[in-house]
């Protein structure tokens, strides 16, 4: 499980936790997050995220 950080605002998407509130189940890999999904904090697109070592 990896974490991805928004380059615009620092929001972290944690694959282990997912975002159940937005219909993204815990354990959803980054590749499987829909391309239309945007950062819940600042609205940046998926392309604006970077994988981060944890």
């Amino acid at each position: 499980m990896k974490k991805w950080r928004c380059l615009v605002c620092d929001f972290v998407y944690d694959e282990a936790k997912g975002l159940p509130d937005e219909g993204i189940a815990p354990g959803t890999r980054w590749e499987d997050v829909p391309d239309s999904w945007t950062c819940p904090d600042c609205g940046a697109s998926k392309a604006d995220f970077q994988m981060e070592e944890v």
Binding site: L7, V8, C9, D10, F11, D21, T38, P40, D41, C42, G43, A44, S45, D48
Partner: protein
């Protein structure tokens, strides 16, 4: 959410395409005024920028009216990739810097009287304020050159913290009580201004501190974006001080204060009273189009790179200005920013015009609004007796 007009992609032409160059013309307003002064004489020419922004723009907004046309969705990608639009914004920066250096020289060596100096100060300060809008557009881009130019454009007005705070602070907390740059129902501009500047400054520092800590660096590391942006101010102001002497210092400081106030009065308009609701998990709902005030007035929009199409900007912050859309069902200001700024300077007038709009937006249920804490209970009770019972 519905978009106002959707013509076929093949037929669509950007009718504002060449009007975007007016942003660069605005950066030259003090020089245009000076040309007018040389040609016709008179003190008023030194006041050219404030006269245009406070008097001519509201009038033109009223006469020219609104434009609700949107680019068709299929055209957005190609429109955003056109280099012309990026260059049109970047062009404003050499113009702004020229105006700034000219103004500084004129302050010291122009042999001007009191009223002329005051006009020069406000005229150049206004350019520094408008430049924050240029920096805003460039600072949202991911290209390193544009991000560098964003910092440069903030330097004359000494507003470097905006570069950090706007994207990584304001955009996250917008329309919540935690955002220093979101004005509250019942809060006058004069209460908002210091709260916003101090809060934004503190937040910008903390944001970079956290980032650098994560990277194992000191907050004083050179890669601190705040320090980089402020260093440009030190370099430019320092150069002018070395060249023109200490007499230029009051000019530099006062034009920066006025330029910053101009940006903050615009911030004051953009989310007044609006509020995102908290979800069950304690996070705020996503920022949606109904969390920003909008205006489609053409004149102010072309001078401000569509900043007034603010709902789309916050819902899609990486969307460039030329592609920002109007939505038909969003909170709407009665006029463009120019006229609304004048109202904001006179709080009783502002409250008279805007408070009923906020109340109407929430259908009287002010529990959902972002209200100045000291009057929150009163406001809720006043507009929604059933809710407080």
């Amino acid at each position: 959410m519905t978009t106002a007009t959707l013509p076929a992609a093949g037929l669509w032409r950007d009718n504002k395409r060449y009007w975007w160059l007016l942003g660069s013309v605005a950066a030259a307003f003090p020089l245009i005024g000076y040309a007018g002064h040389l040609a016709f004489g008179g003190v008023l020419w030194w006041w050219f920028s404030p006269i245009v922004v406070y008097a001519v723009f509201p009038l033109l907004d009223y006469l020219v009216g609104e434009d609700n046309s949107n680019p068709p969705e299929e055209r957005v990608d190609s429109l955003m990739k056109e280099g012309y639009y990026r260059l049109a914004v970047m062009l404003a920066i050499p113009v702004q810097l020229t105006t700034f250096v000219w103004g500084s020289w004129m302050w010291v060596h122009g042999g001007l009287g009191g009223w002329e100096l005051a006009g020069l100060l406000l005229s150049v300060g206004m350019v520094s304020g408008l430049a924050i809008n240029t920096a805003h557009e460039l600072g949202h881009q991911t290209d390193p050159l544009e991000r560098f130019l964003a910092k440069l454009s903030l330097a004359p007005g000494a507003y470097g913290h905006f570069y950090v705070e706007h994207n990584r602070g304001h955009h996250i907390r917008v329309a919540t009580p935690e955002d220093p740059a979101t004005s509250r129902f019942g809060e006058s501009f004069y209460e908002f201004f210091p709260r916003c500047v101090i809060g934004s400054f503190r937040s910008a520092w903390q944001i970079e501190q956290r980032r650098l800590q994560r990277e194992g660096k000191s907050v004083w590391h050179w890669s601190n974006d705040n320090l980089q942006a402020w260093a440009m101010t030190v370099a430019i102001w320092g150069g002018l001080l070395a060249w023109l002497g200490w007499t230029v210092l009051p000019f530099l400081v006062l034009q920066a204060v006025y330029g910053g106030s101009l940006l903050e009065v615009v911030n004051y308009l953009e989310h007044y009273g609006l509020c995102r609701q908290k979800k069950a998990d304690g996070r705020y709902e996503r920022c949606q189009p109904h969390h920003s005030w909008n205006s489609n007035h053409v004149i102010t929009n072309v001078f401000l790179y569509h900043l007034q199409r603010h709902s789309d900007h916050h819902a899609n912050p990486t969307r460039s200005y030329q592609a920002l859309r109007d939505f038909s069902d969003v909170p709407r200001l009665p006029s463009g920013y120019s006229a609304m700024i004048l109202l904001a300077y006179f709080p009783p007038l502002w409250f008279k015009v805007m408070n009923p709009r906020v109340v109407a937006h929430f259908g009287g249920d002010m529990r959902q609004a972002n209200i100045k804490p000291s009057i929150r209970e009163q406001v809720i009770a006043r507009y929604s007796p059933a809710a407080s019972a």
